[in-house]
Amino acid sequence: MASVPVTRRGRFQDFSWVDFIINALRVIIILLVIVGSANTLLSGRFTFEQWVSLFVAGLAQGSIYALIALGYTLVYGILLMINFAHGEVFMSGALTTVFLAQAFARSGFLDAQPLLAIIILIIFAGLVSMSVALLLERLAYRPLRGAPRLVPLITAIGASFFLQYTFRGLFGSQFRSYPAVQALTGSLEIGSISIPIVQPVVFIAALLLMAGLYWLVERTKLGKAMRAVSENKEVSRLMGIDIDQIIMFTFAIGGALAGAAGVINGLFRPQGVNFFMGFVPGIKAFTAAVLGGIGNIRGAMLGGLFLGVIEAVGPNLVFNGLGIPGSNQLKDVIAFTMLVLVLIFRPQGLLGERLTEKKA
């Protein structure tokens, strides 16, 4: 901690190569981004309509990342632990519900009552994912609550494999698809811009769920208890809060949101539902949570949306202008470069607070 005021004193006496390199890195990355974007925009390769459609698709994708990221951030806020099996919680809801969705489609219920059917699907997926998250907490994490921090982390990775292969055993490994919902096909035409209806629907549904969570955490007694536990477990216990119960609630809420994200993801990107589908979104959502400041609920929402948009717009905007071939393949590079960049500028994440030594 003593080093903080030292760097403020004078640049020449305290020249540090590490600081120099980090600063140079910042400048280089920013220059590359600016040059790339300017080249692309000046070349006029992409029309305004194309940018808008990429942006909206990015928002829809980002809102799904945000829903999953909330699960990471809620658990981290309370237990200071990264639940790496959270991607699998998302998968469990999405994969189980695909069968119900297909049954709804076959019986015609999905097209006759789309809103009701989708709400039932979301609730069903939420319940499945919630049960998985609760079992995970009760069987894998609670027995390790007092253990060193690495132990639950490794357990989470093990639990993640366990869940993947359990679901592979249950449902097989082939890819399945959510049925197309008639009411959500087609596009909204705004002037010359055409946006598939499903994208704003996905975005709004995710926003509603996030608003619900925000209300729960900020305005209810349960939320108050959750915030208290995240501040200080011992004092909360003295105040008569049942810590175990609050932790279970936290896992349940995170799981339910992940399950809902599974169905919403199925509306947006119907294909590719199988036992391994949680891995990549899990990693991306974790990135989003860190990007926004892990432990911070608004940060996870913002981080998710930010990541989704950057991923959609970034490859064409930055890499294309720099003349890098195969720019689309470098999509993940954008996502994780963004993470590195944010961590260089704001190690605590976009909205995160500086953590004290004890909490970090």
Binding site: Q50, A57, P270, Q271, E311, N316, N320, Q329
Partner: protein, 422 residues
């Protein structure tokens, strides 16, 4: 002193064991790379190395079913011994192919392997299989480099590799011919997924398309595991292409096709994929956007023998084959079993001795074998298919409702497209 005695004792045991074991192997085997001895009551072991899980599982199930039909056709017996089929899942990846190859090569009784499905698996497994003296016949590897012996040209062929699948030098060329001559397209965009199969296929397609007089306006790639294709689709729309060739696998090809319908600027662009996407789950998974997609794929001319095969499939496996390489797998299995029958030397007590080099030679010498996929003759680097058995298909509404395979719209050599019927 005592220690010296122990060492001497151990050495003596090793020597006795060595003397005891060596003559047996060397006694009656004159084959350059060794023999397989099958005891009177032991089965003849062959292996499969196929992708029987994950997104490409239909490809593996398709081949596996045909192998089982071919074995069943012989009553499960060869030279008076049972045929034992063991197998490994090679996961359609290089890592999977390597692991599967190692596990199979560790079993010295295995005579030959039917596999692999994906070219990436074969590239990784082939050195191991070849080193072990075994042989593999692939029903669906189509990457040109697998039967190219010249390493400077990217070739990875090694002795013991054969395939009944067509070489992509042929598949890519007919795709280009169809796109340019038949559809009249002039601006091509190609996309691959980084696999050797898709990468070489799109390269051949692009080269031939340019030779014919067309222009390649975009060449790009997606990652395996990507779900969001909007960035690359937008880039293609901006390039002005009038046909997109994306010869890779599900589910990336599902995502790509479905999202192309939502991308402004791609409304009138033709979509074409290849045999990797030629599976019955493609229309269902992709939805309405699959209608109108052209697929090049294996085509077995209707014949009595093929009808008989389909009937046998229904009896042994049930239903219809889920993908397009069952006939190739059936031919591959029969070629292997015929060669074993031809080379195997049966002793009076029922013991069979099979020379590994002799077995390879028997397959290398294969000429004018009348298989389901046409007349097969193997060349010196293991290409046994003639390329007769290829066609271009078009997905229609009927496939969305569960029909498979889609109707043929073009066969190499035709000057115009056939109208797809229902």
């Amino acid at each position: 002193m005592k220690r010296l005695l122990v060492v001497l004792f151990v050495l003596a045991i090793v020597a006795v064991l060595g003397v005891a074991v060596m003559p047996v192997a060397a006694q009656d085997c004159t084959d350059a790379i060794g023999c397989v001895e099958i005891g009177p009551d032991d089965p003849i072991t062959i292996a499969y190395m196929l992708t029987i899980s994950g997104g490409t599982a239909s490809l593996g199930e398709d081949s596996l079913g045909a192998i089982e039909v071919a074995i069943d056709d012989r009553g499960g017996e060869l030279l008076g011994h049972d045929i034992e089929l063991i197998g490994e899942d090679s996961l359609c990846s290089a890592e999977g192919g390597q692991a599967a190859g190692q596990r199979i090569a560790a079993n010295p009784q295995v005579l030959g392997i039917i596999g692999s499905n994906c070219s990436s698996e074969a590239v990784a497994a082939l050195p191991i299989i070849s080193e072990a003296g075994m042989l593999m016949i692939s029903p669906s590897n189509t990457a040109p480099r697998l039967t190219e012996a010249d390493a400077d040209k990217g070739g990875v062929w090694q002795p013991g590799y054969y395939r009944t699948a067509h070489n992509d030098l042929f598949q890519g060329a007919i795709a280009a011919e169809f796109a340019y001559n038949i559809l009249g397209k002039t601006k091509l965009a190609t996309v691959h997924d980084g696999s050797p199969y898709a990468e070489s296929l799109q390269a051949v397609m692009a080269d031939t398309f340019t030779e014919l007089g067309g222009e390649v306006v975009f060449q790009g790639a997606v990652n395996v595991g990507d779900t969001d294709m909007s960035a690359i689709l937008t880039e293609i729309a901006a390039s002005g292409a009038d046909i997109i060739y994306y010869p890779y696998f599900e589910p990336e090809s599902d995502f790509f096709t479905a999202q192309s319908a939502d991308t402004p600027g791609l409304e009138d662009v033709a979509l074409m994929s290849a045999d990797g996407t030629f599976v019955d789950t493609f229309p269902e998974n992709t939805g309405p956007a699959a209608v109108g997609v052209f697929l090049s794929g294996p085509y077995v001319a209707e014949s009595e023998t093929y009808d008989t095969f389909l009937q046998r499939w229904d009896e042994v496996i049930g239903g219809v084959p889920p993908s397009g390489f069952h006939a190739h797998a059936f031919d591959a299995t029969n070629i292997l079993l015929n060669a074993i029958e031809q080379v195997g030397v049966v002793a009076d007590d029922g013991t069979i001795s099979i020379g590994r080099q002799a077995l390879r030679d028997a397959i290398s010498d294969l000429t004018d074998y009348a298989g389901l996929t046409g007349t097969l003759t193997c060349n010196e680097t293991g290409d046994c298919a003639t390329g007769e058995a290829l066609a271009v298909f078009e997905v229609t509404q009927a496939e969305l409702d569960g029909n498979w395979p889609p109707p043929v719209v073009w066969l190499p050599g035709m000057t115009e497209m056939m109208a797809p019927e229902g």
